[in-house]
Structure formats: structure tokens, C-alpha cells
């Protein structure tokens, strides 16, 4: 059990506030100033963002809960216009190249395709690094955190889409509508080129409707298993026919000739429905609000909401016009979000582990290829989720394999040691491995500057260093015996040199506790 810095103030300290919703009498009431301390502010920074050093936590403590939450939620006020990847725009020569490939000899064509695929792979690596940089040092952490939520929710993989521009475009869509309206997001995603390719909607026509998107949009995106029938799937697939993708223009296209104009019966209603109608029917269902709000809560709180809390979340969402921003504000200000069973009980995702670690270690992200290796080894490859359900997350991030990888990859971030990734990555693809090894051995990962992290006193006195490690790395206290192990380790070194301090950080990062946030 982790020992928190300060005990929570009892609930009866709560000041009565204006209550408009009946439900909120009991659920989602506002956290009080008395409870707003280092632990609570660190929790908000870890969950609404990707964590950060003690100075950032202190700043949030000083702001108070409403201002601190507003800093995350009202991110439009913060200017943010970093450049997009150079190739993140429609390719004017694409049509010509497709034509050239069509006219080429089989051998030439194969060469051209190989070349194109190689480019795409490189671009995907750049894209991953581009996004990780936004998470690690961008000015709008919640926007990136929600973008990551949507990527896991509408899990689309470059392995099938095979086009970095389209993957970037989808990512940009998630970012633009990150905390916006649910229906708007859903329609945009249904018309998103990467999604149209990913779930085969692009090829669905009235003669043979493809059920892939129709099924997953109900099962995984809006309602959940058991809230629709097989008949709903086949009928919805008919309604969606004609929504397709134009390869030349690299854009969504509506093909009237492919659309099934007949009557369909979906959720017991009969009509001449098209894709837009179907998505509107989906969002109008009460289950849709419960499903998506429960998933958002689980993503940020780390545990599924109770039935009662789900009702309250869904009501908040509907009262806010099915927009995510008011929901998130209410969530981050709620007593429930700061309950002791929620704080420091979420397993960090590999991306959270990497981005959070570089933030608390105040070091830059490693080079792109190394970032890809680090997260892949831990079981999360951005833009390549294992399937359309996304990453299972939670405890399933942790196996003996991935846990040891986390412990070892700490050395990559601290001391620039790339051996944890050169061995594991592509273990199953020997040829790719050789090439990867060659390339990784040429990059410099860099390490951590301990002078930046700790005061001189902390760097020379173990009794000062240990609490500093607690505040920076765990935002909680070590168990007494862990503290003893660390102290013994530091005492056993010849003086508190940089190497010893880095190793002490490595040891903290190699504990079960560090894997939680």
C-alpha cells in the first residue's frame, strides 16, 4: 500500500454548492479546496495529462481545483501551432505514380511498390515520434490525452491502411474534435479515409454490403455487445452502402450507385435510412451515452464506473449536449475522481510510461526509432493497435515479459543504453532485426542530467535524496523496507556520484509501484 502525502479531508467539510441535477446530489459533487493538495494535483496532472516534475505539480496546487482543471480542459486558449510532418498533405503526384505503376512491367512495378512501402514505413516512424513529442512537450496535454483515447477507441492500424498521410489525417481529426460533440465525431470518423479502408466500408456496395464497419460501430464504438441484433448489423450495413473512398482524390466519396435505396429496419424502426440517419439513431439511444461516458471514465480513472456513477456521467453528458468538454470538466472536479481507491491505482500504458518518464526525468524524448522500439517492446505500437478493439489496457499491459522490459528500458532513458530494445524488438523478424540493430547502434539516446533534477543537498545526502525521489518519481512514499533498500544501496556506493544517483532512479523505476500512476 502506498502511503499518500496527506490524508483526505472528510467529506463533511464539503461546502454545499448549487445543485441543478437531482443525480448530482449524491454523485459527482465538487472536490473541495481542503482536499486540493500535492497528491490531488499530481493525480490530475498524471491522468488529464502525462505527469510532470514537482514544479508543475506545485503550480497546479497553487491554482486551486477549478483553475487547475480549466488549464487542462479549456486548452483552446493556449496557442499551439507546431508544424505538421512534411508529407502530411495530399500527394499531387500520387495519381501519376499510380498510373505509372499500372503501366510498368511486373518487375518495375514490384520495385516501385517496395519503394513506396519503404517510404510509408519511414513516415509512420516519423509520425509516431511527431505525436509522442506533442504529448511530451506540447502545451495542451489533455488534447493529446483525448487524442490517444480516440486512437484506442477507433483503433485503426497502419498495418492495413498502409498510408502515413491517411493515418496522420485521422490523428488530426481526433485532435480537432477531441473534446467536441459525439455525433460530429462519429460522422467524421465514419467518413475518415483510414477508417473506410480499415473496416472495409470503402468497398461496401448494395449487391454485397460489407458488415465490418456496421458491426464494429455498434459493438465497439457506440453501444457495446448485446445492445443490438444480428439483423441490426445487416440492415445498418445496407444503410451505410455508398459511403466510400476515392483513391485518386485520397478522400471520402459518396457513391449513389452503390447505395441501397430500399427500406431498412434498424432498432425496430423502418425507413429509407442512409449512413447519416443510422449514426444519428445510434447516438440518440440512451445506451450510447452510457457506453461512451463509462469508457471515458475508465480511461481517466483506471477503473470502470459503478452503475450509479455511469447514470450520473451519462446524464451530465446528455445535459451538456453530448459534448465531451463539460463531461471532462465535471469528472476532473468530482470527489469520485480523487477517491483513494483511484489515486495511484492505474497501470501506466507504455505510452504513458515513456512520455511520463521523460517528463519527470526532464530529458528529451529519445530519437524516433528508439521510441518505437521502447513502446513496441512494452506492447503498444502507436498507429498499429493489435485489432479494432484497441489495446485491452489495465492489468493486461503487465506480463512477466513486459514488466522486465519496463525495468530494463529505464536504463535506456537514464543512461542511453539501447540493449534492452535491440534484443527484444523484432525478435520474431530476424532480417528486420539486423537492419534495425545497425540503425539503432548509430543513434545517440542521451541520458539524464541529475544536476537539473536535484539540489546539491539532495545530490550529496541520501536522507535528502530519498524524499526527492519519492516526490519526483512516485508522488507517494516508499514502503519502509524499500526506503531501506535504497538507503543501503546508496550507502554502499563510493560516494554519491552521478552514477549512483542514476542507478537509484533506475531502481525506483524497476519497482511494481513505478508502473502505477
Amino acid at each position: 500500500m502506498l502511503h499518500r502525502f496527506r490524508q483526505a479531508a472528510p467529506a463533511f467539510f464539503l461546502k454545499p454548492c448549487n445543485i441543478t441535477l437531482r443525480l448530482s446530489l449524491r454523485m459527482l459533487s465538487r472536490i473541495s479546496w481542503q482536499r486540493w493538495d500535492f497528491t490531488a494535483a499530481a493525480h490530475l496532472l498524471n491522468r488529464a495529462g502525462f505527469g510532470g516534475p514537482p514544479t508543475e505539480i506545485a503550480r497546479l496546487v497553487a491554482l486551486g481545483p477549478a483553475q487547475a482543471v480549466s488549464y487542462f480542459v479549456d486548452y483552446e486558449r493556449v496557442p499551439d501551432s507546431p508544424p505538421n510532418p512534411a508529407w502530411a498533405e495530399p500527394d499531387p503526384e500520387r495519381a501519376e505514380r499510380l498510373r505509372a505503376a499500372r503501366d510498368a512491367s511486373p518487375e518495375e512495378r514490384r520495385k516501385m511498390q517496395q519503394e513506396m512501402q519503404k517510404n510509408q514505413r519511414e513516415h509512420i516512424i516519423e509520425l509516431r515520434a511527431w505525436w509522442l513529442r506533442r504529448m511530451a512537450s506540447g502545451p495542451r496535454p489533455l488534447q493529446e490525452k483525448m487524442t490517444l483515447f480516440w486512437h484506442g477507441h477507433f483503433a485503426t492500424s497502419a498495418e492495413k491502411v498502409r498510408d502515413a498521410y491517411l493515418m496522420w489525417r485521422q490523428n488530426d481529426l481526433f485532435r480537432r474534435l477531441a473534446t467536441g460533440n459525439w455525433l460530429e465525431m462519429l460522422v467524421a470518423v465514419a467518413k475518415d479515409p483510414a477508417m473506410l479502408i480499415w473496416l472495409d466500408q470503402a468497398q461496401s456496395r448494395k449487391e454485397h454490403p460489407n458488415e465490418n464497419f456496421a458491426r464494429e460501430v455498434m459493438e465497439l464504438f457506440t453501444l457495446g455487445e448485446g445492445h443490438y441484433t444480428e439483423r441490426d448489423v445487416t440492415e445498418a450495413a445496407r444503410a451505410l452502402t455508398g459511403w466510400s473512398y476515392d483513391r485518386q482524390d485520397e478522400d471520402f466519396v459518396e457513391r449513389p450507385m452503390w447505395h441501397d435505396r430500399g427500406a431498412k429496419t434498424i432498432f425496430g424502426e423502418t425507413g429509407y435510412f442512409n449512413g447519416q440517419d443510422f449514426l444519428e439513431m445510434l447516438v440518440a439511444r440512451p445506451q450510447a451515452a452510457r457506453f461512451i461516458t463509462a469508457k471515458v471514465w475508465n480511461y481517466f480513472a483506471g477503473t470502470p464506473p459503478s452503475a450509479e456513477l455511469t447514470d450520473a456521467l451519462a446524464a451530465t453528458f446528455r445535459n451538456g449536449g453530448n459534448n465531451f468538454k463539460p463531461l471532462l470538466r465535471t469528472m476532473f472536479l468530482s470527489e469520485e475522481f480523487y477517491s483513494p481507491s483511484i489515486i495511484r491505482d492505474q497501470v501506466k500504458s507504455p505510452v504513458q510510461w515513456l512520455v511520463g518518464s521523460v517528463r519527470v526525468l526532464e530529458r528529451p524524448l529519445p530519437p524516433p526509432l528508439v521510441c518505437v522500439g521502447l513502446t513496441r517492446n512494452l506492447g503498444q505500437d502507436l498507429f498499429a493497435p493489435p485489432n479494432v478493439k484497441g489495446w485491452d489496457g489495465g492489468l493486461s499491459w503487465i506480463t512477466t515479459n513486459t514488466l522486465l522490459s519496463r525495468y530494463n528500458e529505464a536504463a535506456t532513458l537514464l543512461q542511453g543504453d539501447v540493449s534492452p530494445i535491440t534484443g527484444g524488438m523484432f525478435a520474431n523478424r530476424p532480417n528486420a532485426n539486423k537492419q534495425f540493430l545497425r540503425r539503432v547502434s548509430q543513434v545517440r539516446v542521451g541520458g539524464v542530467d541529475v544536476d537539473k533534477l536535484f539540489t546539491e543537498e539532495e545530490r550529496t545526502d541520501a536522507s535528502a535524496l530519498i524524499p526527492a525521489l519519492e516526490r519526483r518519481l512516485l508522488q507517494a512514499k516508499f514502503k519502509p523496507e524499500q526506503e531501506k533498500v535504497l538507503r543501503d544501496y546508496l550507502d554502499g556506493q563510493r560516494g554519491m556520484n552521478e552514477g549512483a544517483i542514476l542507478n537509484a532512479i533506475r531502481l525506483v523505476m524497476s519497482t511494481p509501484e513505478y508502473q502505477l500512476t
Binding site: 460489407n210 493486461s396 506480463t399 513486459t402 522486465l404 530494463n408 542507478n503 524497476s510 519497482t511 509501484e513
Partner: protein, 443 residues
């Protein structure tokens, strides 16, 4: 391998620390449970001991994505088959004939050889009532051996571990990969996962001085051992700690347990992997490499009862022909290399391979040269002691016999599991599967 083996098994770990009091540890919930299990061990005849030298081994091979069973075990004389699949159907001249009516996909030469050698059983028409066509739900049904409408908390192999292997070494279940399959989910989490033995350890780096009391390695091990003694639950009352305490079932509990399992298994696995050589040539694919590692671990005597490997990519909604051919070739070649390896090690009589996929695919092909999610499909069971040949009945393809365009099952997959549990792993199947399923006569 010169590495010092610090902890051999969890059992030994507990003896040295909890029992002998080398260090005074107490016990988070999971260790308490393991400990109670150990105490009960001697009296409990159902608990299986694993020595790594005898005992049977099950290798579960998941074909993820929903393999098209109709083009895997092909009813090549069936008119309905050819009518439903004008583009992707396989002609009689192409298939590898098993009898006068069915044949294997042409890429499955590896399986054909195993069949001819009497080592391959094909179970036809396997499924379950009220089939679910979602990848995730159907996979879950197979992994938890549940009824279609019922949600089970633990996996079927997890329940096997809970029922028959409590107190065993964590390597009683080994998954090759980075994620644990849902089938392994257990009341007491059991099993380890790995893909590269060389990195399967805490790498202390250049600054460490192993052997010294304050080396990184030693500090690491101490930091990753269970919580130290606290006054409220001291030594004598351990066995009474049935289900306490404040962090029972917390994420931290789970992490501590995994950290311990990783340490316990790491030295052993690396030592085996560096000392055992493969005795067959495997394809360079992920599946090939996974089975290669399984073969080494078996050869090195890891006390494992269940290995889990998987191969993905079977979700062939579009242009199925090339994809499935590539995957099935990889499957057949990898498994036959593994059998060759086992034969060379003289371990083949101890090993059984069982394949499964979450569902078959629709009888009729779709407009994109592919097939959509379906229902019943064949399973393969491979080993020296299988009743080789065709088992079960091929489901009827007559349109009137289909359910929503899909094949109806004849064999419940749980009667295959029951056979594997009873005849192969030698344990009662009811406590694991929840009720009686008549075991299919496979071994």
C-alpha cells in the same frame, strides 16, 4: 551458463524467505494464498507436480482472426460449396485429398504429411450453440469455455491452473509473446510470457558489482520481493490470512506477483535457451520462431504443462486467397518442423498440439474475394498418440441447413477441451468446464 541461480521456484523462494525466515517477509494476499496451497499440498492429491522430464504437455495454437474452415478442410465434391464460392472455391485437382470427399488446403503439405504419418486428427464442424460473430466475444467464449450468453471471469486454462496446479512453479504455463491470453486468466494468476530469452532478465548494466550486498542486482531483487513484515500480520498467523487485506486484488498486488514470477523464471529460462539447440529447420515467421522457442524450453526440461502460441491475420474480408495460402503454409510448415524437433528430442510422445480459431467464415464468398464472419470450423489436434483421421461430422452446406448463412456445429469445442483435460492432462474436466461435456475420443 554461469549465472547464479538465486531463486529456483516460487516454492523454494517461499521456503527460503517466508518459512526459513532468511529475511522476515510477510505476505501480500497472493503469497498467502500460494502458501496455504503449499500447506494443503501434501494432502491434496489433485495438485499436479511437474518435473519437466515426464508429464504431458499441451501446446495451444491460436489462429487469430477467424480462419476460413471451408477452404482449410475442403469439401471438394460438394456442389453447394462450389456454388457458394465461384471465385475463391478450391478445385478438386488442387486440394490434398484426405478421403473421397474432403481434402486439405494445398498449402497444408506439412499437415498432409502429419496426417499420412498418423499424427493428425481433424475435428470437423466445431463450434458452440448460439454462435457469436464478434471476434472479441467469440474469442472470449473460446478462451473462457463459456456458454454464448454467459460471462466467465477466468480462462479455461486459468481454471486448470487453479484447480490442478496450485503452488506450482510459475512456468507451469508459458505464453510466447508479450501479452497473456485470456485463457490464462486465473484466480491466482499463473504463467509467464516471453519472446526473447536473452532479454528476459533484469539487466543491471556496467555499473553493477554482482555478489556484493549493495549491488544493483541485489537491491533490485529486494525491491521486487513481497512486502516486509508489518506488526498486524506476523509469521505465526500466515495460514489464517485467508482473504484480507487492504490491497487484495489491487493493481499493485498483481504487479508484485508478476515481478516475483519474472524473477523466479528468468534465470532458468535463459539458461535453457542458451544450452538447448533446435533439431529441425523452422520457417522464419513469428509462429515458426515461437514454436522454436517452445521446443527449446521443452528440451531443457522447463516444468511446463501448457504452452500458448498464436498466429494472426486470418480475418480475410477481402482477397482471401493469397493471405490464407501464406498463413496456412506457415502453419503447416511450422507445426511439422516442431513435430520433427520433438521427435529428435524423443519428447514427441509427451506433446500434444491443439489449434483453434474464434470462428469459421460464412459459406458464401463476399463481393471482395473474401469471406465474412461465420460459425463452425475444424480444429486440428497433433501428436504421436492422437486418434488420427477425421473426427466429427462435416456440417451440411445445403442452404436449408445453414443458420443465417453459416455452418451449424456438430462438435462442441468444450468436448475437445474435455478430452484434452481428461485424457491428456489427466485431470477432471467438470470443475474446469463448469459441467460435463462428453470428451471426444481424440487421444
Amino acid at each position: 551458463m554461469k549465472d547464479e541461480i538465486t531463486i529456483q521456484t516460487r516454492r523454494e523462494f517461499l521456503r527460503h524467505t517466508v518459512l526459513a525466515g532468511a529475511l522476515s517477509w510477510t505476505v501480500p494476499t497472493f503469497v498467502a494464498n500460494t502458501f496455504s496451497a503449499l500447506q494443503a499440498d501434501a494432502a491434496d492429491q489433485t495438485t499436479q507436480t511437474t518435473t519437466g522430464r515426464d508429464g504431458t504437455i499441451l501446446v495451444v495454437l491460436q489462429m487469430a482472426g477467424g480462419n476460413d474452415g471451408l477452404n482449410t478442410v475442403v469439401p471438394f465434391t460438394n456442389d453447394y460449396y462450389h456454388r457458394a464460392r465461384p471465385r475463391i472455391g478450391l478445385a478438386e485437382s488442387k486440394v490434398l485429398r484426405v478421403n473421397s470427399d474432403v481434402g486439405l488446403h494445398p498449402a497444408l503439405t506439412g499437415f498432409k504429411d502429419l496426417y499420412d504419418a498418423g499424427r493428425l486428427a481433424i475435428v470437423q464442424g466445431v463450434g458452440y450453440p448460439n454462435p457469436n460473430r464478434s471476434h472479441f466475444r467469440s474469442t472470449e467464449i473460446w478462451q473462457t469455455a463459456s456458454d454464448s450468453a454467459r460471462f466467465e471471469r477466468y480462462g479455461w486454462l486459468g481454471r486448470y491452473f487453479d484447480n490442478a496446479c496450485s503452488g506450482c512453479d510459475p512456468t507451469v504455463g508459458v505464453c510466447i509473446g508479450r501479452q497473456m491470453p485470456e485463457a490464462f486468466t486465473a484466480k491466482q494468476p499463473t504463467g509467464v510470457s516471453l519472446d526473447n530469452p536473452q532479454n528476459y532478465r533484469f539487466m543491471a548494466g556496467g555499473q553493477s558489482r554482482p555478489g556484493q550486498p549493495t549491488s544493483m542486482e541485489d537491491s533490485f531483487r529486494k525491491l521486487n520481493q513481497p512486502e516486509a513484515e508489518t506488526p498486524e500480520n506476523s509469521g505465526g498467523t500466515i495460514a489464517a490470512l485467508s482473504g484480507p487485506v487492504r490491497h487484495s486484488g489491487s493493481a499493485l498486488d498483481f504487479l508484485e506477483r508478476t515481478a516475483l514470477d519474472a524473477q523466479v523464471s528468468s534465470d532458468k529460462i535463459r539458461s535453457i535457451a542458451s544450452r538447448v539447440d533446435n533439431l529441425a529447420a523452422y520457417p522464419g515467421s513469428q509462429l515458426g520462431n515461437s514454436l522454436k522457442l517452445v521446443a527449446k524450453l521443452i528440451g531443457g526440461g522447463l516444468p511446463t504443462r501448457v504452452f500458448y502460441v498464436s498466429q494472426g491475420g486470418y480475418d480475410t474480408h477481402t482477397n482471401q486467397t493469397n493471405t490464407q495460402e501464406r498463413l496456412l503454409k506457415d502453419l503447416g510448415d511450422s507445426v511439422s518442423a516442431f513435430v520433427e524437433d520433438m521427435k529428435g528430442q524423443r519428447n514427441l510422445p509427451r506433446v500434444l498440439v491443439m489449434t483453434f480459431s474464434e470462428f469459421g467464415r460464412r459459406v458464401a464468398e463476399n463481393a471482395n474475394g473474401g469471406t465474412d464472419h461465420g460459425a463452425a470450423a475444424p480444429m486440428f489436434v497433433i501428436g504421436d498418440k492422437v486418434k488420427a483421421g477425421l473426427l466429427g461430422q462435416y456440417p451440411s452446406l445445403a442452404p436449408a441447413d445453414l443458420f443465417q448463412g453459416d455452418l451449424k456445429f456438430n462438435v462442441d469445442f468444450r468436448s475437445v477441451y474435455a478430452a484434452v483435460l481428461e485424457s491428456w492432462l489427466k485431470t477432471r474436466s467438470e470443475p474446469i468446464l463448469g459441467r460435463r461435456f462428453t470428451p471426444l475420443q481424440i487421444v
